[in-house]
Amino acid sequence: MRERFDAIVVGAGPAGNAAAYTMAKAGLKVLQIERGEYPGSKNVQGAILYSDALERIIPDFREDAPLERHIIEQRLWVLDDRSFVGTHFRSDDYNKPPFNRYTIIRAQFDRWFSQKVREAGAMLICETTVEHLLMDGQRVVGVRCDRAGGDVMADVVVLADGVNSTLARKAGFHPEIQAQNVALAVKEILFLPEETIRSRFNVGEDEGVVIEMVGKITDGLVGTGFLYTNKESLTIGVGCILDDFKNNPKRTAPYAMLDRMKQHPSIAPLIEGGEMKEYCAHLIPEGGFFAVPRVHGDGWLIVGDSGGFVNAAHREGSNLAMTTGRLAAETIIEARAAGKPMNAATLKSYKARIDDSFVMKDLHKYRHLPQALERSPQFFSAYPELVNRAAQTLFTVDGVDKQSKEREIRSSFRASRSLTGLMTDAFRLWRATR
């Protein structure tokens, strides 16, 4: 297979597909290598698709992409063990096309995206794991696959190999990922009749609801839970910072956390009767701005999860993946048109492009958030409990006057956290999100 390509893309997730599609469309000779049986068979996501990032690549994707439901309602729940305090935002504006976001099932969506990549002219080989990069000194010149005679050469290699960033790590481009910079998430897909989902979530055909959750469900660890409505199924999952899982004195297994969450009295009725058909686990790079490694060099670029491009605060990842994939492709296309070599000096313009996009701007805005949360575990245990107790005190009619109730609520906050502590937490959160 001593064929030479303009570009090799490793991985067929959102980042790799965006890169391969954009380059193939521009007439480059592109080889894409995927280790799964088919694109999507190794990929895990919640999953929400944000239309904007895909629209910039395939404007008419809505015509045939496998989409589950467009989201018309966003719920944010703060839970203790028996209750939740929540906000719901629902707007009929989200029923006006073009829809802003959808739930998707990644195994189906990635297959569709990959079909588009091949139609654009890229060559795809599946069931092939890239073992390592081929180097000529400091320069990446190709990849070695786990097939006989599996060396393939290219002018540039786009690393879209996912959160473990195996190839860049092996090549020494960046060190091992740190456990405080990734979240371990587990999820299940639960099948229910379509009409049951509609009535339980108060939505019409094709309309969907997203519930993001924080609180006692994560057992005091820094993390969140989610429940998404697909067409005929629900996705439910929970994820926490890997380092928190590791250091948890209760030694809670992720699947035990998920099962306990499913039994929460506010959640159980929503998923009741759901038939579980798959259980997945995945890491999410949540280290943010400071955890993004060097993403370009001589003959290589890193896109998507492999580069840590996830905005954890807003639960956005696949849109950053598609955007970085597209920007990497545009960098390569432009360099090639100008007849420039694919070296670090040329590919530096990729960094400039992502810096100038929402990708790095958003990561920069929340750059202090991971550290702030790490130092304030009370956001995930003590505060949810206090807020729920406060609501219960206030809303329970029992002959106690309201002023006394307010006093009780105030003192409960101070008993659990000093006034200085409360102020510090508020300040930290404000500073980390402003």
Binding site: R35, G36, E37, G40, S41, K42, N43, V44, Q45, A47, I105, R106, A107, Q108, D110, C126, E127, T128, T129, C145, D146, R147, V163, N164, T166, E176, I177, Q178, A179, V182, L184, V186, E188, I189, D219, S233, L242, D243, F245, K246, N247, K250, R251, T252, A253, P254, Y255, A256, D259, R260, Q263, M276, K277, E278, Y279, C280, A281, H282, L283
Partner: protein, 98 residues
């Protein structure tokens, strides 16, 4: 937390193509887990329950149910005792939905 969880029941729903006799993850030095690792965190963090703590403090690994997340390699940072690769192309977990 009185939740009895059988992770095998969950994994039973998944589709795998096992690369028989060629596990993609290995414990480099089993004695190191036994003697030098106090927490043995892999035995409860692994979302597929691949790592088991045995009565004699040994840790055993069976990769058949592996979800290929990478957690075990990352949390073993101090000892770096996990030899971790992706399965050969086409093998391992094959998500139907993902």
């Amino acid at each position: 937390m009185n939740v009895e969880v059988n992770v095998e029941e969950k994994l039973y729903q998944n589709r795998y193509r096992i690369d028989a006799g060629r596990p993609h993850i290995r414990i480099k030095q089993p004695d190191l887990c036994k003697n030098d690792c106090k927490s043995q965190a892999c035995t409860f963090v692994c979302p597929a329950g691949c790592y088991k703590a045995e009565g004699n403090r040994a840790v055993t690994l069976i990769t058949d149910g592996c979800l290929e997340c990478g957690s075990c390699r990352i949390i073993c940072h101090d000892h770096a005792n996990v030899d971790w690769e992706y399965p050969r192309g086409g093998h391992g977990v094959l998500f139907k939905f993902g």
